[in-house]
């Protein structure tokens, strides 16, 4: 068996001529928590969509469990997706279903388990994220942190091999952030799954990730364990880790000469 559950091989992707990724190589070993970091708009979320097969790469390929994702037909992709759980940026809970039904959703769709077993499983999952008492609530009645935890419970409902987190810390208070952080680690170890986390929160990620990829300008700019990166002297990593305003990643979006644009009449 291949020790890497997900492999990204020379992947390029872009919309309408603007290339977002230009030859990315990544591997995600089984049982590890791997973070993909980078600035906003560097195409991190798109990478998750490519792994999930929601979009097709322009070049290169993504392999999940040894199978090339974009060469699968609909059935094949759905089969692969059953091994994945994904946490969307804002939870993406189904607003017309209660917390209980949200977590039960994947089970009802993909299994023929009897109602009593679904009930037990859902309560187990909710207990794992500490929200067993909230099973009756509707998603609108939850705080941001609670919604995120319910979404995690839903993502792990079918005990997936791969759990993907898209910005799991965005917009959370420090306490909720810590809770989610611990959850990701403990769930990963308890389920024996592989976690892929897309984020730009340096502090939290460095605390629990096993391996980190930095994505910038469409390529992997740096990679390594948190210790390696903290001691890295690459200017980009330094800028990112310490949150400096200007550096290899410029403050200004690419533009013409400032003075000539202000003085000149035609744009």
């Amino acid at each position: 068996m291949n020790s890497n559950i997900v492999e990204i091989d020379n992947l390029s992707f872009g919309y309408k001529g603007r290339m977002l990724h230009q030859g990315i190589n990544m591997v995600f070993p089984r049982g590890k928590v791997v973070a993909i970091m980078g600035g906003s708009g560097s195409g991190k979320t798109t990478l998750l969509r490519l792994i999930g097969g929601q979009i097709k790469p322009s070049k290169g390929e993504v392999r999940v469990d040894g199978q090339v994702v974009h060469k699968q037909d609909r059935e094949g992709i759905y089969k692969l997706r059953r091994k994945m759980g994904m946490l969307f940026q804002h939870g993406a809970l189904f607003t017309d279903l209660s917390v209980f039904e949200n977590v039960a959703f994947p089970m009802r769709e993909h299994t023929d388990l009897p109602e009593s077993m679904i009930r037990d499983l859902v309560l187990m999952k909710l207990n794992a994220v500490g929200l067993r008492g909230a099973y009756k609530l509707m998603p609108t009645e939850l705080s941001g942190g609670m919604a995120r935890r319910v979404a995690i419970a839903r993502a792990i409902a079918l005990d997936p091999n791969i759990i993907m987190y898209d910005e799991p810390f965005a917009g959370l208070d420090p306490i909720s952030m810590g809770v989610v952080c611990d959850l990701i680690r403990t769930l990963n170890d308890a389920l024996g799954a592989t976690s892929i986390i897309v984020t730009h929160d340096v502090e939290e990620t460095f605390r629990f990730a096993d391996y980190i990829y930095f994505v910038a300008n469409g390529v992997v700019a740096a990679e390594g364990t948190p210790e390696e990166l903290r001691n890295s002297n690459l200017p980009f990593v330094h800028q990112f880790v310490f949150g400096e305003k200007d550096g290899p990643v410029p403050f200004h979006y690419a533009a013409g000469d400032y003075a000539s644009e202000m003085l000149g009449s035609d744009l």
């Binding site: 999930g52 992709i77 997706r81 059953r82 940026q89 993406a92 607003t95 959703f105 769709e109």
Partner: protein, 267 residues
């Protein structure tokens, strides 16, 4: 000067061209969604409670507006019809007038227009928001087809609810006409019903009305679903899509009504 006119002309043509292409593209995309909905309808019949739930939201929730409007439309028809018919000394024919107007035209058409405003907008807004909050994406990632799980049950619910609402509309409208004509104006009750029965034909009037309402059900629901599914995932996008649902559905209903009527009269 001359070039200015030319530029304006070119711009005008370009706009017309873009509108046309856009319209055709939308029509094609709508047809594609319609086809996908039809082929993935198995789910909505196998798990019929999904469809029943939507019948509740589209049909039962529209009952009040449909019944109240029907009652008033029937009463107005009764009043107007009486004032015109009595000039020709045939006020007993008021039953015929009310019944034929409702069963053949007003029942299906007004119901469809109200349906587009009440249930159609709700469908568009709901699906648009589900898309904006990544709920549809989340479903995709759980290997559940949103078309089978979200679109198809709503489609069939609309197709089921529309003829029922139209039949209720006609029935209540006739009741309203009866209340105006018989107790209020004093037309003979026996003449009211017997003249109606003598000239309303089961097949040519009532069945054709039902066929109309089924077609309108397909059109209205599909337009609402497509606009929601196609809406840009922003607040503005969803609000525009909702508006377009009402406009497009109304035009489609009136246009289809003309086509269907001319077919039915010629056969």
């Amino acid at each position: 000067m001359k070039s200015g006119i030319l530029v304006a002309l070119v711009r005008g043509f370009r706009m017309v061209g873009r509108r046309c292409i856009d319209g055709i593209w939308r029509l094609g995309a709508g047809m594609r969604l319609f086809w996908l909905t039809l082929i993935s309808s198995g789910e909505s019949f196998r798990r019929f409670h999904l469809t029943i739930r939507e019948v509740y939201f589209t049909g039962v929730m529209s009952l009040i507006i449909i019944l109240v409007s029907a009652f008033f439309v029937g009463m107005v028809l009764g009043l107007q019809g009486y004032h015109t018919l009595q000039k020709y000394g045939s006020s007993e024919a008021i039953g015929v007038l009310v019944a034929l107007a409702l069963v053949r035209e007003l029942g299906p058409v007004v119901t469809a227009l109200l349906f587009a405003g009440r249930a159609g907008t709700a469908i568009t807004a709901e699906i648009g928001l589900m898309k904006a909050t990544e709920q549809l994406s989340a479903m995709e990632m759980m290997a559940v087809s949103p078309i089978a799980r979200v679109v198809a049950p709503r489609f069939w619910a609309g197709v089921i609810a529309m003829p029922i609402l139209a039949a209720l509309f006609s029935m209540v409208g006739i009741l309203g006409g009866y209340l105006v004509a018989v107790p209020l104006i004093g037309v003979d009750a026996g003449a009211f019903w017997s003249q109606m029965q003598a000239s309303v034909d089961w097949q040519h009037d009532i069945l054709n009305g039902v066929i109309k309402s089924v077609v309108f059900g397909v059109a209205c629901t599909m337009i609402a679903l497509f606009e929601g599914y196609d809406a840009p995932p922003t607040a503005e996008g969803v609000s525009r899509a909702t508006t377009r649902t009402v406009v497009t559905s109304s035009l489609a209903v009136l246009g289809l009504d003309f086509i269907l009527t001319s077919f039915m009269l010629s056969v």
